[in-house]
Symmetry: C2
Subunit: 331 residues, 2 copies
Protein backbone atom coordinates (compact mmCIF):
# COMPACT_ATOMS: atom_id res chain seq x y z
CA UNK A 1 0.00 0.00 0.00
CA UNK A 2 0.99 3.59 -0.56
CA UNK A 3 -0.08 6.56 1.53
CA UNK A 4 0.28 10.31 1.53
CA UNK A 5 -1.06 13.20 3.57
CA UNK A 6 -2.78 16.28 2.19
CA UNK A 7 -2.36 19.60 3.98
CA UNK A 8 -5.70 20.68 5.45
CA UNK A 9 -4.63 23.10 8.18
CA UNK A 10 -4.75 20.46 10.92
CA UNK A 11 -1.71 19.15 12.79
CA UNK A 12 -1.93 15.66 11.28
CA UNK A 13 -3.33 16.48 7.82
CA UNK A 14 -5.66 14.25 5.81
CA UNK A 15 -4.71 10.70 4.88
CA UNK A 16 -4.99 9.57 1.26
CA UNK A 17 -4.33 6.19 -0.29
CA UNK A 18 -2.16 6.60 -3.41
CA UNK A 19 -2.21 4.27 -6.42
CA UNK A 20 0.81 2.14 -7.21
CA UNK A 21 1.69 4.37 -10.19
CA UNK A 22 1.36 7.54 -8.04
CA UNK A 23 -1.29 8.97 -10.39
CA UNK A 24 -4.53 8.57 -8.45
CA UNK A 25 -5.57 8.91 -4.83
CA UNK A 26 -8.58 8.51 -2.59
CA UNK A 27 -9.41 9.65 0.95
CA UNK A 28 -11.18 7.28 3.34
CA UNK A 29 -12.04 9.48 6.31
CA UNK A 30 -14.50 6.96 7.71
CA UNK A 31 -11.75 4.32 7.84
CA UNK A 32 -8.82 6.47 9.01
CA UNK A 33 -8.80 10.26 8.89
CA UNK A 34 -5.02 10.56 9.39
CA UNK A 35 -1.97 8.38 8.81
CA UNK A 36 -1.15 8.55 12.52
CA UNK A 37 -4.60 7.18 13.27
CA UNK A 38 -4.13 4.40 10.69
CA UNK A 39 -0.76 3.41 12.19
CA UNK A 40 -2.23 3.33 15.70
CA UNK A 41 -5.14 1.10 14.63
CA UNK A 42 -3.26 -0.79 11.91
CA UNK A 43 -4.69 -4.27 12.41
CA UNK A 44 -8.24 -2.87 12.38
CA UNK A 45 -7.92 -0.60 9.35
CA UNK A 46 -5.37 -2.33 7.09
CA UNK A 47 -7.94 -4.61 5.40
CA UNK A 48 -10.19 -1.71 4.40
CA UNK A 49 -7.23 0.39 3.28
CA UNK A 50 -5.90 -2.55 1.27
CA UNK A 51 -9.24 -3.06 -0.44
CA UNK A 52 -9.36 0.63 -1.37
CA UNK A 53 -5.78 0.45 -2.67
CA UNK A 54 -6.64 -2.53 -4.88
CA UNK A 55 -9.74 -0.83 -6.25
CA UNK A 56 -7.72 2.33 -6.91
CA UNK A 57 -5.09 0.36 -8.84
CA UNK A 58 -7.81 -1.28 -10.95
CA UNK A 59 -9.44 2.09 -11.73
CA UNK A 60 -12.50 1.14 -9.71
CA UNK A 61 -12.49 3.84 -7.06
CA UNK A 62 -15.38 6.21 -7.85
CA UNK A 63 -14.05 8.91 -5.50
CA UNK A 64 -10.52 8.83 -6.91
CA UNK A 65 -8.79 12.08 -7.81
CA UNK A 66 -5.46 13.00 -9.37
CA UNK A 67 -2.55 12.67 -6.94
CA UNK A 68 -0.72 15.98 -6.51
CA UNK A 69 2.57 15.73 -4.61
CA UNK A 70 2.66 19.54 -4.30
CA UNK A 71 -0.45 19.42 -2.10
CA UNK A 72 1.27 16.97 0.23
CA UNK A 73 2.67 17.51 3.67
CA UNK A 74 5.10 14.96 5.05
CA UNK A 75 3.28 11.60 5.34
CA UNK A 76 3.32 12.25 9.11
CA UNK A 77 3.41 16.06 9.47
CA UNK A 78 4.22 15.45 13.14
CA UNK A 79 5.24 12.16 14.69
CA UNK A 80 5.65 10.92 18.25
CA UNK A 81 9.42 10.46 17.97
CA UNK A 82 12.10 10.94 15.32
CA UNK A 83 15.27 8.99 16.07
CA UNK A 84 17.95 9.20 13.41
CA UNK A 85 20.92 6.87 13.29
CA UNK A 86 24.22 6.98 11.45
CA UNK A 87 24.03 3.45 10.12
CA UNK A 88 26.24 3.84 7.04
CA UNK A 89 29.63 3.61 8.71
CA UNK A 90 31.39 4.82 5.57
CA UNK A 91 29.59 8.15 6.03
CA UNK A 92 30.25 8.27 9.76
CA UNK A 93 33.96 7.69 9.37
CA UNK A 94 34.22 10.40 6.73
CA UNK A 95 32.25 12.79 8.95
CA UNK A 96 34.67 12.26 11.82
CA UNK A 97 37.37 13.57 9.51
CA UNK A 98 35.12 16.40 8.27
CA UNK A 99 34.23 17.55 11.79
CA UNK A 100 37.66 16.70 13.26
CA UNK A 101 35.92 14.94 16.17
CA UNK A 102 37.34 11.99 18.10
CA UNK A 103 36.52 8.46 16.91
CA UNK A 104 33.11 7.35 18.20
CA UNK A 105 33.56 4.44 20.64
CA UNK A 106 32.09 1.05 19.59
CA UNK A 107 31.04 2.60 16.26
CA UNK A 108 31.08 -0.80 14.51
CA UNK A 109 28.97 -2.61 17.07
CA UNK A 110 26.59 -0.13 18.76
CA UNK A 111 24.43 2.14 16.57
CA UNK A 112 24.75 5.88 17.14
CA UNK A 113 21.46 7.73 17.06
CA UNK A 114 20.19 11.20 17.91
CA UNK A 115 16.76 12.29 19.03
CA UNK A 116 15.39 14.83 16.56
CA UNK A 117 12.47 17.23 16.71
CA UNK A 118 9.31 15.66 15.29
CA UNK A 119 6.69 18.39 15.62
CA UNK A 120 7.23 20.27 12.38
CA UNK A 121 8.19 18.05 9.46
CA UNK A 122 8.19 19.56 5.97
CA UNK A 123 6.57 18.20 2.83
CA UNK A 124 8.36 17.19 -0.36
CA UNK A 125 8.02 20.55 -2.11
CA UNK A 126 8.10 22.87 0.90
CA UNK A 127 10.68 25.62 0.93
CA UNK A 128 13.26 25.20 3.67
CA UNK A 129 13.50 28.45 5.67
CA UNK A 130 16.81 29.00 7.44
CA UNK A 131 18.36 32.01 9.13
CA UNK A 132 21.88 32.14 7.67
CA UNK A 133 24.02 30.75 4.87
CA UNK A 134 26.94 30.97 7.31
CA UNK A 135 25.48 28.01 9.23
CA UNK A 136 26.67 25.61 6.50
CA UNK A 137 23.38 24.51 4.94
CA UNK A 138 23.41 20.88 3.83
CA UNK A 139 20.96 18.19 2.76
CA UNK A 140 21.14 14.53 3.82
CA UNK A 141 19.42 11.82 1.79
CA UNK A 142 18.15 8.98 3.96
CA UNK A 143 15.63 6.19 4.28
CA UNK A 144 13.48 5.54 7.34
CA UNK A 145 10.76 3.38 8.82
CA UNK A 146 7.44 4.28 10.47
CA UNK A 147 6.66 1.97 13.38
CA UNK A 148 3.67 0.54 15.14
CA UNK A 149 3.94 0.48 18.93
CA UNK A 150 7.29 -1.05 19.96
CA UNK A 151 7.59 -2.44 23.49
CA UNK A 152 10.60 -1.59 25.64
CA UNK A 153 13.33 -4.16 25.19
CA UNK A 154 12.18 -5.46 21.80
CA UNK A 155 14.73 -7.64 20.02
CA UNK A 156 15.87 -6.67 16.49
CA UNK A 157 13.56 -9.36 15.05
CA UNK A 158 10.60 -8.15 17.11
CA UNK A 159 11.43 -4.56 16.19
CA UNK A 160 11.50 -5.38 12.49
CA UNK A 161 8.01 -6.86 12.82
CA UNK A 162 6.84 -3.45 14.04
CA UNK A 163 7.81 -1.73 10.77
CA UNK A 164 4.62 -0.53 9.12
CA UNK A 165 5.89 1.83 6.43
CA UNK A 166 9.10 2.87 4.68
CA UNK A 167 9.85 6.53 3.92
CA UNK A 168 12.44 8.67 2.14
CA UNK A 169 13.94 11.58 4.06
CA UNK A 170 15.91 14.78 3.64
CA UNK A 171 17.50 15.38 7.04
CA UNK A 172 18.52 19.05 6.73
CA UNK A 173 21.72 19.82 8.61
CA UNK A 174 23.66 22.95 9.55
CA UNK A 175 27.32 21.94 9.40
CA UNK A 176 28.77 25.01 11.09
CA UNK A 177 26.75 24.20 14.21
CA UNK A 178 27.23 20.41 14.37
CA UNK A 179 30.78 20.10 15.71
CA UNK A 180 30.13 22.34 18.74
CA UNK A 181 26.95 20.46 19.59
CA UNK A 182 28.78 17.13 19.29
CA UNK A 183 31.52 18.39 21.60
CA UNK A 184 28.99 19.32 24.29
CA UNK A 185 27.97 15.65 24.35
CA UNK A 186 24.32 16.73 24.39
CA UNK A 187 23.95 16.09 20.65
CA UNK A 188 22.40 17.95 17.74
CA UNK A 189 19.74 20.58 18.32
CA UNK A 190 20.36 23.82 16.38
CA UNK A 191 22.28 21.75 13.80
CA UNK A 192 19.13 19.83 12.86
CA UNK A 193 16.28 22.05 11.64
CA UNK A 194 12.98 20.65 10.29
CA UNK A 195 13.33 17.29 8.58
CA UNK A 196 11.59 16.77 5.23
CA UNK A 197 9.94 13.76 3.63
CA UNK A 198 9.11 12.41 0.18
CA UNK A 199 5.35 12.42 -0.37
CA UNK A 200 4.61 8.70 -0.32
CA UNK A 201 5.02 6.28 2.60
CA UNK A 202 4.79 2.64 1.54
CA UNK A 203 4.38 -0.77 3.10
CA UNK A 204 7.63 -2.77 2.80
CA UNK A 205 6.13 -5.15 0.21
CA UNK A 206 5.98 -2.23 -2.26
CA UNK A 207 9.78 -2.35 -2.40
CA UNK A 208 9.79 -5.96 -3.63
CA UNK A 209 13.40 -7.15 -3.64
CA UNK A 210 14.32 -3.60 -2.56
CA UNK A 211 13.34 -4.52 1.01
CA UNK A 212 15.85 -7.06 2.21
CA UNK A 213 17.67 -7.83 5.45
CA UNK A 214 15.77 -4.98 7.08
CA UNK A 215 17.34 -2.51 4.65
CA UNK A 216 16.11 -0.35 1.77
CA UNK A 217 18.09 -1.72 -1.16
CA UNK A 218 17.39 1.12 -3.60
CA UNK A 219 19.60 3.82 -5.08
CA UNK A 220 18.92 7.32 -3.79
CA UNK A 221 19.47 9.75 -6.67
CA UNK A 222 20.41 13.22 -5.45
CA UNK A 223 20.65 16.38 -7.55
CA UNK A 224 21.79 19.82 -6.36
CA UNK A 225 20.63 22.74 -8.51
CA UNK A 226 19.72 20.27 -11.24
CA UNK A 227 23.14 18.60 -11.38
CA UNK A 228 23.91 15.04 -10.42
CA UNK A 229 25.37 14.79 -6.92
CA UNK A 230 25.27 11.08 -6.21
CA UNK A 231 23.20 7.93 -6.17
CA UNK A 232 24.42 5.77 -3.26
CA UNK A 233 22.69 2.44 -2.71
CA UNK A 234 20.86 1.67 0.53
CA UNK A 235 22.01 -1.94 0.72
CA UNK A 236 25.35 -0.98 2.31
CA UNK A 237 23.67 0.01 5.59
CA UNK A 238 25.81 -1.50 8.37
CA UNK A 239 22.96 -1.94 10.84
CA UNK A 240 19.49 -3.15 9.84
CA UNK A 241 16.38 -1.18 10.72
CA UNK A 242 15.56 -3.98 13.17
CA UNK A 243 18.82 -3.31 14.99
CA UNK A 244 18.27 0.45 14.94
CA UNK A 245 14.72 0.21 16.30
CA UNK A 246 15.80 -2.22 19.03
CA UNK A 247 18.51 0.27 20.01
CA UNK A 248 15.93 3.06 20.28
CA UNK A 249 13.60 0.85 22.37
CA UNK A 250 16.25 -0.36 24.85
CA UNK A 251 14.97 1.76 27.78
CA UNK A 252 11.64 3.11 26.49
CA UNK A 253 8.61 2.07 24.54
CA UNK A 254 8.14 3.75 21.16
CA UNK A 255 4.57 4.86 20.59
CA UNK A 256 2.91 4.10 17.25
CA UNK A 257 4.04 6.47 14.51
CA UNK A 258 7.64 6.78 15.70
CA UNK A 259 10.09 7.21 12.80
CA UNK A 260 13.62 5.79 12.81
CA UNK A 261 16.06 6.96 10.14
CA UNK A 262 19.12 5.37 8.57
CA UNK A 263 21.41 8.37 8.51
CA UNK A 264 22.94 9.58 5.25
CA UNK A 265 23.05 6.87 2.60
CA UNK A 266 26.69 6.33 1.71
CA UNK A 267 28.72 3.85 -0.31
CA UNK A 268 32.35 2.86 -0.08
CA UNK A 269 32.72 3.17 -3.87
CA UNK A 270 33.50 6.81 -4.65
CA UNK A 271 31.78 6.45 -8.02
CA UNK A 272 28.38 6.48 -6.29
CA UNK A 273 28.86 10.09 -5.24
CA UNK A 274 27.32 11.35 -2.02
CA UNK A 275 23.92 12.14 -0.50
CA UNK A 276 25.17 15.18 1.44
CA UNK A 277 27.62 17.98 0.77
CA UNK A 278 29.71 17.48 3.91
CA UNK A 279 30.70 14.01 2.72
CA UNK A 280 31.79 15.30 -0.69
CA UNK A 281 33.79 18.04 1.00
CA UNK A 282 35.74 15.67 3.21
CA UNK A 283 36.49 13.47 0.22
CA UNK A 284 37.85 16.58 -1.53
CA UNK A 285 39.99 17.29 1.52
CA UNK A 286 41.32 13.72 1.54
CA UNK A 287 41.99 13.66 -2.20
CA UNK A 288 43.09 17.24 -2.86
CA UNK A 289 43.96 18.73 0.52
CA UNK A 290 41.08 21.20 0.56
CA UNK A 291 37.34 21.33 -0.01
CA UNK A 292 36.33 22.98 -3.26
CA UNK A 293 32.56 22.56 -2.87
CA UNK A 294 30.70 25.10 -0.70
CA UNK A 295 27.47 24.57 1.18
CA UNK A 296 24.02 25.62 -0.08
CA UNK A 297 23.01 29.21 -0.76
CA UNK A 298 19.56 30.75 -0.51
CA UNK A 299 17.67 29.90 -3.70
CA UNK A 300 19.49 26.59 -4.20
CA UNK A 301 17.43 23.47 -4.77
CA UNK A 302 17.91 19.82 -3.91
CA UNK A 303 16.11 16.90 -5.51
CA UNK A 304 16.05 13.35 -4.15
CA UNK A 305 14.41 10.31 -5.67
CA UNK A 306 14.91 6.63 -4.89
CA UNK A 307 15.07 4.29 -7.88
CA UNK A 308 14.81 0.56 -8.28
CA UNK A 309 17.84 -1.33 -9.54
CA UNK A 310 16.35 -1.39 -13.06
CA UNK A 311 16.41 2.43 -13.03
CA UNK A 312 12.65 2.87 -12.74
CA UNK A 313 11.23 5.42 -10.33
CA UNK A 314 11.05 4.22 -6.75
CA UNK A 315 7.90 4.11 -4.65
CA UNK A 316 8.27 7.28 -2.58
CA UNK A 317 7.90 10.03 -5.17
CA UNK A 318 10.36 12.91 -5.17
CA UNK A 319 11.67 15.48 -2.70
CA UNK A 320 12.38 18.80 -4.41
CA UNK A 321 13.05 21.68 -2.07
CA UNK A 322 14.47 25.17 -2.21
CA UNK A 323 16.39 26.86 0.59
CA UNK A 324 15.06 30.31 1.46
CA UNK A 325 15.99 32.93 4.03
CA UNK A 326 13.75 32.58 7.11
CA UNK A 327 11.19 35.33 7.25
CA UNK A 328 11.25 35.81 3.45
CA UNK A 329 8.10 34.89 1.51
CA UNK A 330 7.69 31.13 1.02
CA UNK A 331 6.11 29.53 -2.04
CA UNK B 1 -4.48 29.74 36.52
CA UNK B 2 -3.75 26.13 37.31
CA UNK B 3 -4.32 23.17 35.01
CA UNK B 4 -4.04 19.42 35.09
CA UNK B 5 -4.90 16.55 32.76
CA UNK B 6 -6.97 13.51 33.66
CA UNK B 7 -6.21 10.17 32.04
CA UNK B 8 -9.06 9.16 29.74
CA UNK B 9 -7.38 6.72 27.37
CA UNK B 10 -6.70 9.34 24.70
CA UNK B 11 -3.26 10.59 23.68
CA UNK B 12 -3.78 14.08 25.09
CA UNK B 13 -6.07 13.30 28.05
CA UNK B 14 -8.76 15.61 29.41
CA UNK B 15 -8.00 19.15 30.57
CA UNK B 16 -9.19 20.29 33.98
CA UNK B 17 -8.87 23.67 35.66
CA UNK B 18 -7.61 23.21 39.24
CA UNK B 19 -8.38 25.56 42.13
CA UNK B 20 -5.60 27.62 43.69
CA UNK B 21 -5.58 25.37 46.77
CA UNK B 22 -5.43 22.19 44.61
CA UNK B 23 -8.65 20.86 46.20
CA UNK B 24 -11.25 21.34 43.48
CA UNK B 25 -11.32 21.00 39.71
CA UNK B 26 -13.63 21.46 36.77
CA UNK B 27 -13.54 20.32 33.13
CA UNK B 28 -14.58 22.73 30.36
CA UNK B 29 -14.69 20.54 27.27
CA UNK B 30 -16.62 23.10 25.29
CA UNK B 31 -13.88 25.68 25.88
CA UNK B 32 -10.81 23.45 25.50
CA UNK B 33 -10.89 19.64 25.63
CA UNK B 34 -7.13 19.26 26.12
CA UNK B 35 -4.29 21.37 27.48
CA UNK B 36 -2.53 21.17 24.11
CA UNK B 37 -5.63 22.61 22.50
CA UNK B 38 -5.79 25.40 25.10
CA UNK B 39 -2.11 26.29 24.55
CA UNK B 40 -2.63 26.41 20.78
CA UNK B 41 -5.66 28.72 21.08
CA UNK B 42 -4.49 30.55 24.19
CA UNK B 43 -5.67 34.07 23.34
CA UNK B 44 -9.13 32.76 22.44
CA UNK B 45 -9.66 30.49 25.44
CA UNK B 46 -7.75 32.17 28.29
CA UNK B 47 -10.61 34.52 29.25
CA UNK B 48 -13.12 31.69 29.63
CA UNK B 49 -10.60 29.52 31.48
CA UNK B 50 -9.76 32.43 33.76
CA UNK B 51 -13.43 33.02 34.56
CA UNK B 52 -13.87 29.34 35.42
CA UNK B 53 -10.75 29.45 37.61
CA UNK B 54 -12.08 32.47 39.52
CA UNK B 55 -15.47 30.83 40.03
CA UNK B 56 -13.77 27.62 41.20
CA UNK B 57 -11.68 29.55 43.75
CA UNK B 58 -14.82 31.25 45.07
CA UNK B 59 -16.68 27.94 45.39
CA UNK B 60 -19.11 28.95 42.65
CA UNK B 61 -18.47 26.22 40.08
CA UNK B 62 -21.54 23.96 40.10
CA UNK B 63 -19.70 21.19 38.16
CA UNK B 64 -16.65 21.20 40.44
CA UNK B 65 -15.30 17.91 41.74
CA UNK B 66 -12.49 16.93 44.13
CA UNK B 67 -9.04 17.16 42.54
CA UNK B 68 -7.25 13.80 42.59
CA UNK B 69 -3.56 13.97 41.60
CA UNK B 70 -3.49 10.16 41.32
CA UNK B 71 -5.91 10.34 38.40
CA UNK B 72 -3.60 12.74 36.58
CA UNK B 73 -1.37 12.15 33.63
CA UNK B 74 1.41 14.64 32.93
CA UNK B 75 -0.20 18.04 32.20
CA UNK B 76 0.80 17.37 28.57
CA UNK B 77 0.89 13.55 28.22
CA UNK B 78 2.66 14.14 24.90
CA UNK B 79 4.12 17.39 23.67
CA UNK B 80 5.49 18.61 20.34
CA UNK B 81 9.06 18.98 21.61
CA UNK B 82 10.92 18.45 24.86
CA UNK B 83 14.23 20.30 24.97
CA UNK B 84 16.12 20.04 28.23
CA UNK B 85 19.01 22.28 29.12
CA UNK B 86 21.72 22.10 31.76
CA UNK B 87 21.29 25.64 32.99
CA UNK B 88 22.61 25.22 36.53
CA UNK B 89 26.31 25.36 35.81
CA UNK B 90 27.17 24.11 39.29
CA UNK B 91 25.47 20.82 38.39
CA UNK B 92 27.06 20.68 34.95
CA UNK B 93 30.57 21.17 36.29
CA UNK B 94 30.06 18.46 38.92
CA UNK B 95 28.68 16.09 36.24
CA UNK B 96 31.77 16.56 34.10
CA UNK B 97 33.75 15.19 37.04
CA UNK B 98 31.18 12.42 37.63
CA UNK B 99 31.22 11.29 34.00
CA UNK B 100 34.92 12.05 33.47
CA UNK B 101 34.04 13.84 30.22
CA UNK B 102 36.00 16.74 28.73
CA UNK B 103 34.96 20.29 29.68
CA UNK B 104 32.05 21.48 27.55
CA UNK B 105 33.20 24.37 25.34
CA UNK B 106 31.58 27.79 25.98
CA UNK B 107 29.66 26.28 28.90
CA UNK B 108 29.34 29.69 30.62
CA UNK B 109 28.01 31.55 27.59
CA UNK B 110 26.09 29.12 25.34
CA UNK B 111 23.38 26.91 26.87
CA UNK B 112 23.73 23.16 26.40
CA UNK B 113 20.49 21.39 25.62
CA UNK B 114 19.41 17.96 24.47
CA UNK B 115 16.35 16.95 22.48
CA UNK B 116 14.32 14.46 24.49
CA UNK B 117 11.49 12.12 23.58
CA UNK B 118 8.11 13.78 24.14
CA UNK B 119 5.60 11.10 23.13
CA UNK B 120 5.23 9.23 26.39
CA UNK B 121 5.45 11.45 29.47
CA UNK B 122 4.51 9.95 32.83
CA UNK B 123 2.16 11.38 35.43
CA UNK B 124 3.07 12.35 39.00
CA UNK B 125 2.21 9.01 40.60
CA UNK B 126 3.00 6.67 37.71
CA UNK B 127 5.43 3.84 38.35
CA UNK B 128 8.66 4.18 36.37
CA UNK B 129 9.33 0.92 34.49
CA UNK B 130 12.98 0.29 33.64
CA UNK B 131 14.84 -2.77 32.41
CA UNK B 132 17.85 -2.99 34.72
CA UNK B 133 19.23 -1.62 37.99
CA UNK B 134 22.67 -1.93 36.40
CA UNK B 135 21.83 1.06 34.16
CA UNK B 136 22.32 3.44 37.11
CA UNK B 137 18.78 4.63 37.78
CA UNK B 138 18.61 8.25 38.86
CA UNK B 139 16.03 11.02 39.25
CA UNK B 140 16.59 14.67 38.30
CA UNK B 141 14.46 17.42 39.80
CA UNK B 142 13.87 20.30 37.40
CA UNK B 143 11.58 23.14 36.45
CA UNK B 144 10.33 23.83 32.93
CA UNK B 145 8.12 26.07 30.81
CA UNK B 146 5.34 25.25 28.35
CA UNK B 147 5.40 27.55 25.35
CA UNK B 148 3.01 29.05 22.87
CA UNK B 149 4.26 29.08 19.27
CA UNK B 150 7.80 30.53 19.17
CA UNK B 151 9.04 31.90 15.84
CA UNK B 152 12.48 30.93 14.54
CA UNK B 153 15.08 33.45 15.68
CA UNK B 154 13.11 34.80 18.65
CA UNK B 155 15.17 36.93 21.05
CA UNK B 156 15.31 35.94 24.74
CA UNK B 157 12.78 38.69 25.55
CA UNK B 158 10.43 37.55 22.78
CA UNK B 159 10.91 33.94 23.87
CA UNK B 160 10.03 34.77 27.47
CA UNK B 161 6.79 36.35 26.25
CA UNK B 162 5.88 32.96 24.75
CA UNK B 163 5.92 31.22 28.16
CA UNK B 164 2.37 30.12 28.93
CA UNK B 165 2.84 27.74 31.85
CA UNK B 166 5.45 26.62 34.36
CA UNK B 167 5.89 22.95 35.27
CA UNK B 168 7.88 20.76 37.68
CA UNK B 169 9.75 17.80 36.20
CA UNK B 170 11.47 14.54 37.11
CA UNK B 171 13.89 13.89 34.25
CA UNK B 172 14.70 10.21 34.81
CA UNK B 173 18.25 9.33 33.81
CA UNK B 174 20.30 6.16 33.40
CA UNK B 175 23.81 7.07 34.49
CA UNK B 176 25.57 3.96 33.24
CA UNK B 177 24.45 4.81 29.69
CA UNK B 178 25.05 8.56 29.67
CA UNK B 179 28.84 8.80 29.31
CA UNK B 180 28.94 6.57 26.21
CA UNK B 181 26.14 8.53 24.56
CA UNK B 182 27.91 11.80 25.35
CA UNK B 183 31.13 10.48 23.82
CA UNK B 184 29.36 9.61 20.56
CA UNK B 185 28.48 13.30 20.23
CA UNK B 186 24.93 12.30 19.27
CA UNK B 187 23.62 12.96 22.78
CA UNK B 188 21.33 11.15 25.17
CA UNK B 189 18.85 8.58 23.91
CA UNK B 190 18.87 5.34 25.93
CA UNK B 191 20.10 7.38 28.92
CA UNK B 192 16.85 9.36 29.02
CA UNK B 193 13.73 7.23 29.45
CA UNK B 194 10.24 8.73 29.92
CA UNK B 195 10.21 12.09 31.66
CA UNK B 196 7.66 12.65 34.45
CA UNK B 197 5.74 15.72 35.57
CA UNK B 198 4.07 17.11 38.68
CA UNK B 199 0.29 17.19 38.24
CA UNK B 200 -0.32 20.93 38.00
CA UNK B 201 0.90 23.34 35.30
CA UNK B 202 0.49 26.98 36.26
CA UNK B 203 0.60 30.39 34.67
CA UNK B 204 3.69 32.31 35.79
CA UNK B 205 1.63 34.74 37.92
CA UNK B 206 0.76 31.82 40.25
CA UNK B 207 4.40 31.86 41.37
CA UNK B 208 4.19 35.47 42.59
CA UNK B 209 7.71 36.57 43.54
CA UNK B 210 8.79 33.01 42.71
CA UNK B 211 8.79 33.92 39.00
CA UNK B 212 11.58 36.40 38.52
CA UNK B 213 14.22 37.12 35.87
CA UNK B 214 12.74 34.29 33.79
CA UNK B 215 13.55 31.78 36.54
CA UNK B 216 11.55 29.68 39.00
CA UNK B 217 12.73 31.02 42.35
CA UNK B 218 11.36 28.21 44.52
CA UNK B 219 13.04 25.47 46.51
CA UNK B 220 12.64 21.97 45.09
CA UNK B 221 12.36 19.55 48.01
CA UNK B 222 13.50 16.04 47.06
CA UNK B 223 13.11 12.87 49.14
CA UNK B 224 14.41 9.41 48.28
CA UNK B 225 12.66 6.53 50.05
CA UNK B 226 11.15 9.03 52.44
CA UNK B 227 14.47 10.60 53.48
CA UNK B 228 15.55 14.14 52.75
CA UNK B 229 17.87 14.34 49.76
CA UNK B 230 18.05 18.07 49.04
CA UNK B 231 16.13 21.26 48.48
CA UNK B 232 18.12 23.37 46.00
CA UNK B 233 16.67 26.74 45.04
CA UNK B 234 15.77 27.55 41.43
CA UNK B 235 17.02 31.13 41.56
CA UNK B 236 20.64 30.06 40.88
CA UNK B 237 19.85 29.10 37.28
CA UNK B 238 22.67 30.57 35.16
CA UNK B 239 20.55 31.05 32.03
CA UNK B 240 16.98 32.37 32.10
CA UNK B 241 14.17 30.45 30.44
CA UNK B 242 14.08 33.28 27.87
CA UNK B 243 17.70 32.52 26.96
CA UNK B 244 17.05 28.76 26.85
CA UNK B 245 13.99 29.09 24.62
CA UNK B 246 15.80 31.48 22.27
CA UNK B 247 18.61 28.91 22.03
CA UNK B 248 16.12 26.20 21.07
CA UNK B 249 14.48 28.45 18.47
CA UNK B 250 17.70 29.59 16.76
CA UNK B 251 17.17 27.50 13.60
CA UNK B 252 13.59 26.22 13.98
CA UNK B 253 10.18 27.36 15.08
CA UNK B 254 8.79 25.71 18.20
CA UNK B 255 5.18 24.69 17.83
CA UNK B 256 2.74 25.49 20.62
CA UNK B 257 3.05 23.11 23.55
CA UNK B 258 6.82 22.71 23.34
CA UNK B 259 8.42 22.23 26.79
CA UNK B 260 11.87 23.56 27.68
CA UNK B 261 13.51 22.33 30.89
CA UNK B 262 16.10 23.86 33.21
CA UNK B 263 18.19 20.80 33.84
CA UNK B 264 18.80 19.56 37.38
CA UNK B 265 18.29 22.28 39.98
CA UNK B 266 21.59 22.73 41.78
CA UNK B 267 23.09 25.18 44.27
CA UNK B 268 26.68 26.08 45.00
CA UNK B 269 26.05 25.78 48.76
CA UNK B 270 26.50 22.12 49.71
CA UNK B 271 23.97 22.54 52.53
CA UNK B 272 21.15 22.59 49.94
CA UNK B 273 21.78 18.95 49.07
CA UNK B 274 21.11 17.71 45.55
CA UNK B 275 18.20 17.00 43.20
CA UNK B 276 19.83 13.92 41.63
CA UNK B 277 21.96 11.06 42.92
CA UNK B 278 24.80 11.50 40.44
CA UNK B 279 25.54 14.95 41.84
CA UNK B 280 25.68 13.65 45.42
CA UNK B 281 27.97 10.84 44.30
CA UNK B 282 30.48 13.15 42.67
CA UNK B 283 30.50 15.36 45.78
CA UNK B 284 31.27 12.23 47.80
CA UNK B 285 34.11 11.45 45.42
CA UNK B 286 35.49 14.97 45.76
CA UNK B 287 35.16 15.04 49.54
CA UNK B 288 35.97 11.43 50.47
CA UNK B 289 37.65 9.92 47.43
CA UNK B 290 34.82 7.52 46.64
CA UNK B 291 31.04 7.48 46.19
CA UNK B 292 29.20 5.87 49.08
CA UNK B 293 25.67 6.37 47.70
CA UNK B 294 24.38 3.88 45.12
CA UNK B 295 21.74 4.48 42.47
CA UNK B 296 18.06 3.51 42.78
CA UNK B 297 16.82 -0.05 43.18
CA UNK B 298 13.51 -1.50 42.03
CA UNK B 299 10.88 -0.58 44.61
CA UNK B 300 12.60 2.69 45.58
CA UNK B 301 10.53 5.87 45.61
CA UNK B 302 11.32 9.49 44.90
CA UNK B 303 9.24 12.48 46.00
CA UNK B 304 9.63 16.01 44.68
CA UNK B 305 7.71 19.10 45.72
CA UNK B 306 8.50 22.76 45.11
CA UNK B 307 7.93 25.11 48.03
CA UNK B 308 7.67 28.86 48.36
CA UNK B 309 10.32 30.68 50.37
CA UNK B 310 7.98 30.79 53.38
CA UNK B 311 7.95 26.97 53.37
CA UNK B 312 4.39 26.65 52.11
CA UNK B 313 3.57 24.11 49.40
CA UNK B 314 4.36 25.29 45.89
CA UNK B 315 1.85 25.47 43.06
CA UNK B 316 2.67 22.26 41.14
CA UNK B 317 1.55 19.54 43.56
CA UNK B 318 3.86 16.60 44.18
CA UNK B 319 5.71 13.99 42.13
CA UNK B 320 5.86 10.66 43.97
CA UNK B 321 7.06 7.74 41.87
CA UNK B 322 8.30 4.23 42.37
CA UNK B 323 10.84 2.47 40.15
CA UNK B 324 9.70 -0.95 38.94
CA UNK B 325 11.20 -3.61 36.72
CA UNK B 326 9.87 -3.21 33.15
CA UNK B 327 7.34 -5.90 32.35
CA UNK B 328 6.40 -6.36 36.02
CA UNK B 329 2.88 -5.34 37.08
CA UNK B 330 2.47 -1.58 37.47
CA UNK B 331 0.16 0.07 40.01
Amino acid sequence: MKFATLRDGSLDGRLIVVSRDLRQAVALPAVAPTLHDAIRRWEAVAPALGAAYDALNRGRQPDAFAFDPRACAAPLPRSPQWCDASAFLNHGRLMERAFNTPPIPQFDTVPVMYQGASDDFLGPHDDMPLPSEADGIDFEGEFGVVLGAVPMGATPAQALDCVRLVVQINDWSLRALGPHEMKTGFGFLQAKPSTSFAPVAVTPDELGAGWRDGRVALRLHVQWNGERFGEPHGSEMNFSFGELVAHAARTRRLTAGTIVGSGTVSNVARSAGSACIAERRVIEIIDAGAASTGFMRFGDTVRMQARFDDGSEGPFGTIEQRVVRAGAASS
